[in-house]
């Protein structure tokens, strides 16, 4: 278990330093910023209902695609990097079994995707809070606190000070 956690932690640390992942994430967040602003500045948005519909339609298009791209980036990197670089030889020369290694990699991939999904969720919820009536549909601030907590825990796990 300890070994799986070590594999997971350092895999997550590596993934957070991957430029491709950071770029996809930044691009997704920027798009969501645009979605939040657009209904307020575009002509033809006569009522709050129009704005909510426009915002939800745009978010429904952007968020799944951005999350899918991130999932691809994470999935293709998580084990492949160790195999390609030959790092797996150094790792398996240590007393670690393949099951712990795989479990650690899987845990890292799932945790990071959870964090990415949480970031996009916050990005989606924040603009919704600006629309009157939206808070009656969903308790925005509860979910906001929830996803921030997930991000904070995962981020703390990865960035915990080195021994």
């Amino acid at each position: 278990m300890t070994q799986a956690l070590a594999v997971a932690r350092y895999t997550m640390l590596e993934l957070t330093r991957r430029r491709l992942l950071v770029m996809i994430l930044a691009f997704g967040v920027l798009l969501m910023g645009g979605i939040a602003i657009a209904p307020h500045v575009l002509p033809g948005m006569k009522s709050d209902q129009d704005r909510v519909i426009a915002m939800l339609t745009a978010l429904a298009g952007v968020v799944p695609n951005a999350v899918t791209l991130c999932a691809f980036a994470v999935g293709m990197t998580v084990i492949n990097h160790d195999l390609d670089s030959g790092a797996v030889i150094s790792i398996f020369s240590k007393p670690v079994n393949r099951a712990s290694y795989t479990a650690g990699k899987l845990l890292a991939a799932i945790s990071l995707l959870l964090m990415i999904a949480a970031i996009f969720a916050v990005g989606s919820l924040l603009p919704m809070d600006r629309v009157p009536g939206a808070s009656e549909v969903v308790d925005i601030w509860f979910w906001f606190a929830y996803v921030v907590a997930i991000c904070a825990v995962l981020f703390w796990t990865v960035r915990r000070k080195q021994v």
């Binding site: 070590a6 790092a87 150094s90 020369s93 240590k94 007393p95 670690v96």
Partner: protein, 261 residues
Amino acid sequence: MAAVVEVRDLHKRYRARDPWAVQGVTFSLEPGRAFGLLGPNGAGKSTVVKAIVGLTRPDSGTVRLFGSTPDDQAARSQVGFAPEEPDFPKYLRADEVLDYFGQLLGLSATERRRRISEALDWSTLAGERREVRHFSKGMKQRLGLAQAILGRPKLLILDEPTSDLDPIGRRDVRELINGLKAQGTAVLLNSHLLSEVERVCDRVAIMIRGRILKEGPMEELVPEGRTLEEAFMALVEASAQMREPGLPAFIAESRTSPGGS
């Protein structure tokens, strides 16, 4: 004295239609001794090493590691392995790689802190803040050696440990091997640098095409007044496995053609 590692009649080939990478290799290594595994490229040295560390499974024959098998994690935790062309998770820094491997070895946080600091100092990588992907070959080799000694191994396996090191690095590795031997650690050294092997090894085995051609104490293999390199070349030539020393065709042709200089 009980052997640290015992290899008996090891056979391995990677695919059924391939020639044997290793066939019938047998040797053992005692604590506090250094064993050199020599041979030309493709001789099967790295395959033997991988079988000992448990990275590849033999087709037949046995490998005993501290009286157990290479699959036994307790036995493997007593082995330090510095692979040929070592590589590591490339977005991590040197201290992070060592902390990662220290955790895989099951070391406590206090112990890791102490040993990582020691290993970084020895490898001259202390204070290096760049990620491994920015390291030179020599720096990676030093990190490879640092992670190999992190677990205070009773068997240290070095696969071409000095190929990318400068003369100072080679001297450091020599001193490391001699120091570990004095502490009772067994060292298995796989190297092309015969002068290095000659300086640190007590026994050597010369491998060609998967077989051990000759094995014995250094003084037995290297007659008085000769070097290991001379003995090695004589043995390999005598086995008729080596081609004549030659030049690339375009140089040889220019020498023999009338217009050539």
